[in-house]
């Protein structure tokens, strides 16, 4: 048996890295187990001529399609939105667009404000210092003064507008609607050993320049220097618990496929909104027959994805295409509830630039814009780099029937039961998507676009895995308390997107990491009474 550690973290992605770094200053013995390996910038797609093709293969965001040895299968057949992730040091920060909004203050109070779902047991003001600390650690570029947010100032200046951004800016000014340069985790200057962005343009699939913040190059070097041990290619199968109901450690398969038991005083889960409920459900015992920390029955329930719609058109001049970071502006004009719209809560827009030559050909062929045969070439030249596009990201309210369970048949390469997803898009979300698509069409028309197309919901759009072990003060309706400790197991913590009580209408990574830092800080402040 391995030596007991003070803190065992499962997962090295957005939240696990932040928690590990924060806890390192306690000088406790901290080990993190990660099922994937270290990524190399020299292996990312933009190093090669096949850069665009690899997004359909070994860098596909769906683990089912990607099917690397480090991936686990997800049965998402019963969902109109497919689960996306990445398994490796850095987790899904390896494969994300670096768009980095915070949740709004109102997102933490939806019950009080709009009478739906539940209020969070924490609020924006509590998290604000951790948002700021996380911005410094990840390295955020952006522009202070956005009237859609409480004041905050990113440490680096924003990305350029480019041709696409200029068109969107003029269109939004014409309509009198809010827009602002988005916070991103792309460097626009030298920052903490990272070189500035050189517009490789394929940011989502890993940055060969190292300009995109993924936690393998932000938090982890600092955490490891501070003494945290990160073990790669270690896949955790279950959390063990003792007769006193406390977690005793975890069982995992090491790089050689040998089963190991790692004892620990404290276990922290950072496996995302699919991996964490999967692990809890796989840790059922006679004392916890419905899964660990699941006396509420809420583990795996309330899965929220953020239904996305992509809306795009074509203009009469070449724009930026894929030759710059894909996202650089946002609008929060329609973020808050307006009863006249016919739905509660709201959405934000992400303004894109364009797509690459292969993506344009494949997308336009699939949608019937690009014909086979002699007219192919003329039509393709009318489309290439003339696409202007945006996406609506809709708040997804929690519903108990949207859930993660264990698949009765499918197992990963270590024989561990795989997660199964059952998810439907709510009527409220459909109405929100309708509204967002209609307003986006107006924006695109104001930007001079023709041939407007819509993709709804984006099939491969399950980037945000939220809500499946939610925070709350009531142990009968939530899995963890207001500082991340599970109600049922007093030395078991969760720090990932599973915690989200509601989803907000923005990308969650910034808030996930701020929460992880907050929970780590709470652990540090409560060390003497942590298990009371």
């Amino acid at each position: 048996m391995l030596d007991k550690v003070d803190v065992l973290i499962v997962g090295s992605g957005a939240s696990g890295a932040a928690a590990a770094w924060s806890l390192a200053d306690t000088k406790m013995r901290i080990v993190c187990l990660e099922q994937g390996g270290w990524m190399k910038q020299s292996d990312y797609p933009t190093n090669g001529r096949d850069w665009e093709a690899r997004q359909f293969a070994d860098f596909h965001p769906s683990p089912n399609r990607r099917n690397r040895p480090t991936d686990y299968p997800v049965n998402d057949d019963n969902s109109p939105i497919k689960v996306l992730n990445f398994n490796g040091v850095g987790g899904s920060t390896i494969l994300y667009a670096a768009h980095y909004p915070r949740l709004h203050p109102s997102d933490f109070k939806v019950k009080s404000l709009d009478g739906v779902a539940d209020d969070w047991p924490v609020d924006y003001a509590t998290l604000e210092p951790f948002f700021a600390e996380n911005d410094r650690m990840m390295g955020v570029s952006g522009l202070g003064g956005d009237p859609a947010y409480p004041a905050h100032t990113p440490p680096m200046p924003p990305l350029g507008l480019g041709k696409s951004g200029t068109r969107f800016a003029k269109a939004m000014n014409t309509l009198g609607w809010h827009w602002w340069p988005s916070d991103t985790t792309l460097t626009t200057t030298e920052y903490d050993g990272r070189a500035p962005c050189i517009n490789l343009g394929h940011c989502t699939f890993g940055c060969a320049q190292g300009a995109k913040a993924s936690t393998d190059i932000t938090y982890w070097p600092h955490a490891i220097r501070a003494g945290v041990e990160l073990r790669t290619h270690c896949r955790v199968s279950r959390i063990e618990s003792g007769p006193d109901g406390m977690a005793t450690g975890v069982v995992y398969f090491d790089a050689d496929g040998v089963e190991q038991f790692q004892p620990a005083e404290v276990v922290i889960l950072a496996c995302n909104g699919i991996g964490t409920p999967r692990l809890l459900l796989n840790s059922a015992t006679s004392r916890f027959p419905d899964g660990l920390a699941n006396s509420s029955g809420q583990v795996g329930r309330n899965l929220m994805f953020h239904p996305y719609a992509s809306i795009y058109g074509y203009v009469d001049e070449p724009l930026d295409g894929n030759r710059a970071p894909p996202l650089s502006l946002w609008s929060h004009e329609f973020y808050e509830t307006d009863p006249s719209r016919g739905f509660v809560r709201g959405y934000s827009y992400q303004f894109g630039r364009g797509i690459g030559p292969i993506s344009e050909a494949i997308s336009s062929s699939a949608y019937g814009r690009l014909p086979w045969g002699t007219h192919h070439h003329d039509e393709y030249r009318r489309l290439l780099h003339r696409r202007i596009q945006m996406a609506a990201i809709c708040e997804d309210l929690p519903e108990a029937h949207n859930r993660v369970t264990l698949d009765p048949k499918i197992r990963d390469s270590n024989g561990i039961p795989a997660p199964k997803i059952d998810y439907t898009i709510s009527e409220n979300s459909h109405r929100m998507l309708n509204h967002a698509i209609a307003r986006a069409s107006e924006i695109l028309q104001a930007a001079g676009a023709r041939d407007i197309g819509v993709d709804r919901p984006i099939l491969f759009g399950g980037w945000h895995l939220l809500g499946t072990a939610r925070m709350g003060d009531d142990p009968s309706r939530s899995v963890v308390n207001s500082w991340g400790r599970t109600h049922d197991v007093k030395n078991l913590f969760i720090v990932d997107g599973s915690l989200f009580t509601t989803s907000g209408g923005v990308n969650p990574t910034s808030t996930i990491q701020a929460l992880a830092l907050y929970i780590a800080d709470q652990i540090k402040q409560r060390l003497a009474t942590l298990f009371d």
Partner: protein, 149 residues
């Protein structure tokens, strides 16, 4: 040319379909997707799409009752119209494999005015744009929703 993963008949049909999807163009001075180099890339790139491509080839063969490669020009045009209308997901996969190899060929990229290179290390230049466009938004009062404490 025969690839280990496809039979000769399948290879011939795939090449015929590739040429139907993207034919050569004298106007733009580009080869078709059935060009030797591009088609070799297609065969090499089937990878995880091989089974779907084989199914698509079988589907196309069933529609014409035999070999796609053996069709004359009129027969190919007729089949192309049918496959674009109701080819289904497996034909979409076949089309994707063809297109992702075609649009990375040096000759094609040069014809499109694109540099045939990887994005790294040269990158691209992005214009900053006119930030005075933001002035009307800066003039707006904060509108984030206040919350009860």
């Amino acid at each position: 040319m025969t690839d280990m993963m496809l039979t000769q008949a399948e290879t011939d049909d795939l090449r015929a379909l590739a040429g139907m999807i993207v034919p050569a163009s004298a106007t733009y001075k580009v080869p078709g997707a059935d060009d030797d180099m591009i088609f070799a890339d297609i065969l090499k790139s089937l990878g995880r799409d091989r089974d779907d491509v084989r199914a698509a080839l079988a589907q196309a063969g069933a529609k014409v009752g035999g070999s796609v490669a053996a069709l004359d020009a009129a027969g190919r045009d007729k089949l192309a119209t049918r496959l674009q209308a109701d080819g289904g997901p497996q034909m979409a996969v076949l089309t994707r494999v063809v297109l992702l190899c075609y649009y990375r060929d040096d000759r094609v990229m040069i014809s499109l005015g694109l540099e045939p290179r990887a994005p790294f290390p040269k990158g691209h230049v992005l214009e900053q744009g006119d930030w005075s466009l933001l002035d009307p938004v800066k003039a707006r009062k904060p509108f984030w929703r206040q919350v009860p404490s």
